[in-house]
């Protein structure tokens, strides 16, 4: 049996994503290791980790769909239901909690009109509380499509959600949000970055999820 190429397995994927998939599969000593990055790629293709996405990743890595599902279901960042254009994640772990994170979550729920763990019907927002995101020195902290904003007070959280609704940025930039809505930072971030997130997938070049802000 000749091994099928990436192009043959996922002909529907964009050409750049097929190229990325081939690169990721070659980056590890064993193909199975590419499951996690490929699940991110498939999320970009399908908007979330759908059943089709899992089957595709299974075909690409030589696993069964059940094996891929067992991985996808283990990690909270693989969304197995459609996720909004802007995923707003509010950290409610101990350091953020001590500095008022629960009020920030309330504010985000109010501004988006949707409760923790759900998505808006228009597909614009998903809201979730998350465990520690490593921004404890800049508590309370929020991420939008995993791009970080530190020192977000409740009133600023409302402004941020309203801004997302009206400005609808194509690429979500940590630096832009921090300058508009952020406060205390964990440390000096240094110069602003050019890259940001194009979807609710961590913005990382090799995964095709980083865009020019």
């Amino acid at each position: 049996m000749t091994e099928r190429t990436v192009d043959q397995i996922v002909p529907g994927w964009t050409a750049p994503n097929r190229e990325r998939a081939a690169t990721l599969l070659a980056a590890y000593p064993e193909r199975r290791s590419a499951v996690m990055p490929l699940l991110y790629l498939a999320s970009l293709e399908h908007g979330y980790v759908s059943d089709d996405a899992q089957r595709e990743v299974a075909d690409l890595t030589g696993l069964t769909s059940a094996q891929v599902q067992s991985v996808a279901s283990f990690y909270t960042m693989y969304k197995r239901d459609p996720v909004g254009r802007y995923l707003v994640s509010v950290c409610t772990s101990i350091s953020c909690y001590l500095l008022g994170a629960d009020d920030v979550l309330d504010a985000v729920e109010e501004a988006t009109g949707i409760p923790d763990g759900e998505s808006s019907e228009d597909g614009l927002f998903s809201v979730e509380h998350v465990e520690c995101i490593g921004a404890c020195g800049g508590a309370p902290a929020v991420q939008v499509n995993y791009e970080l904003v530190e020192g977000v007070e409740p009133d600023k959280a409302i402004l941020m959600c309203n801004w997302l609704r009206t400005a609808r940025p194509e690429v979500v930039s940590s630096d832009e949000m921090q300058s508009l809505f952020g406060g205390q930072r964990s440390f000096d971030w240094g110069p602003a970055e050019q890259e940001g997130a194009v979807a609710a997938v961590p913005a990382f070049g090799p995964y095709g999820s980083a865009g020019e802000a």
């Binding site: 990690y75 960042m77 101990i94 001590l98 520690c132 404890c136 791009e147 440390f187």
Partner: protein, 439 residues
């Protein structure tokens, strides 16, 4: 602390605008250690790290040189995996190292790989850290372009590939065997040890897993000698160390310090004291897994691995979370326990069920449904996860996550039991209930 040498944060302190770039790194002596290291025999580089006496900065504090020594002599290939899955609540030091000085880590990876005869290294970075991941990937790309990575590095004949791998939201992947499973494309469930990763790690091959901060120190060690590093700070807590301060402190942030100062100095001299001049009620000395300290007993203790351990806690990942006198400690403990209940991988029953029950009991106490008998019941569940409730903890589980959830409960029962009781009594004790409602 003017007399403290800065090792890890010197460049980012002096050059905040571009400390992450190749240009700045080279202009400030970067990759000089690599040139020197490649002129030595690999064993000599390993000997430098051993002589430094550095203890791993990820949480367990195991001597890095000793860990390296566990690699079996003959088996190849070997792998080096950098643990950048920093997820312990309160910890954000590796994030700063990854974002602000990624070349320091990359140079440390190349030197360590050379010392260990590794030709493929991985950097596992948590998925919620896209910016650090971008910075590291960019540094790696720059290093390839300059001939510091790839084949025949600086004409030494040494080859090395480095791959950045993102996690996807699972604290447990910070545990080294869970991390290896995750890197293999599996669920991030810890493996039973032994075998330890040094013998049977990634793809069943000998593997060293080291923390970001640990390896970021290696270039300095190669330039200045392992002995020079060993002379910094107390004998068994050698070197400088990054502490992440958060919670109720005036100046939260990462502080690179020589261990041995007191907690009082750390809070009041370095971190600017407590906002609104409130008193400290308690603090977590080393990440959410660590038993808490209180001012009466611990404020003047030296901040060292050994002193902290002797007093029933740990420096762990270097995360210090301060709670002022206004803090509701039951609510705070609930928040920490909730974290572990959420992050339990579910393999071991005492952890999977126990953390969930602990969280629910604390929740109902907080919501006025507590019973006085819950105090002992909490400790009983804790005892099933970590028999004897002693320190360092015993465990009925594969990994230490379950016992970590016991720490906050033991802490409030030891120091604030009257407060927990008062909360239950003032809400009206529900001992009359056969079965208490569970929230």
């Amino acid at each position: 602390m003017s007399d403290a040498p800065l090792i890890l944060t010197e460049r980012m302190d002096a050059h905040p605008a571009d400390s992450h770039t190749m240009e700045r790194y080279e202009a400030t002596g970067g990759y000089e250690a690599l040139r020197r290291g490649l002129e030595m025999a690999p064993e000599e580089v390993a000997a430098i790290v051993k002589a430094s006496n550095i203890r791993g900065r990820g949480g367990a504090g195991f001597p890095t040189g000793v860990k390296w020594g566990f690699l079996p002599q003959a088996m190849r290939p070997r792998y080096l995996v950098i643990n950048g899955d920093e997820s312990e609540p309160g910890t954000f030091k590796d994030r700063q190292l990854l974002e602000r000085d990624p070349h320091q880590l990359v140079e440390g990876i190349i030197l360590s790989s050379y010392a260990l005869d590794v030709h493929h290294a991985f950097v596992y970075i948590r998925g919620e850290y896209p910016r650090p991941a971008r910075r590291v990937q960019h540094a790696i790309d720059e290093a390839y372009a300059k001939g510091y990575l790839g084949s025949d590095i600086l004409s030494s004949g040494f080859d090395l590939e480095v791959t950045v791998h993102l996690g996807a939201g699972a604290y447990i992947c910070g545990e080294e065997t869970a991390l290896l499973n995750s890197l293999e494309g599996r669920r991030g469930e810890p493996r039973i040890k032994p075998p330890f990763p040094a013998v049977e790690g990634l793809y069943g091959k000998p593997t060293i897993v080291n923390n970001v901060e640990t390896i970021s120190n290696v270039p300095w060690m190669v330039l200045n000698g392992g002995e020079a590093y060993a002379t910094i700070g107390p004998e068994t807590s050698a070197g400088t160390r990054l502490f992440s301060l958060s919670g109720h402190v005036a100046k939260p942030g990462n502080y690179e310090i020589v261990m041995g100062m007191s907690w009082r100095e750390l809070f009041y001299d370095l971190a600017g004291g407590i906002p609104a001049d409130r008193a400290i009620k308690c603090w977590i000395p080393g990440g959410a897994s660590a038993p808490w300290f209180v001012p009466d007993e611990h404020l003047d203790l030296p901040v060292t691995i050994d002193d902290t351990g002797r007093h029933g806690s740990m420096l762990g990942s270097g995360a210090v979370v301060v709670m002022d006198e206004m803090t509701n400690v039951v609510a705070a403990a609930h928040r920490v326990v909730k974290f572990f209940a959420h992050e339990s991988c579910g393999q071991c029953t005492p952890c999977r069920e126990g953390t969930t029950w602990l969280e629910r009991m604390l929740w109902r106490i907080l919501n006025g449904e507590g019973r006085l008998m819950d105090l002992d019941l909490l400790l009983d569940v804790c005892d099933n996860i970590s028999p004897g409730l002693r320190w360092p903890p015993a465990q009925t589980t594969i990994c230490p996550l379950g016992p970590s959830a016991v720490s906050p409960i033991r802490s409030i029962m030891t120091y604030f039991r009257d407060e927990v009781e008062a909360m239950i009594v003032s809400a009206g004790s529900r001992d009359d209930l056969e079965e208490a409602p569970v929230g």
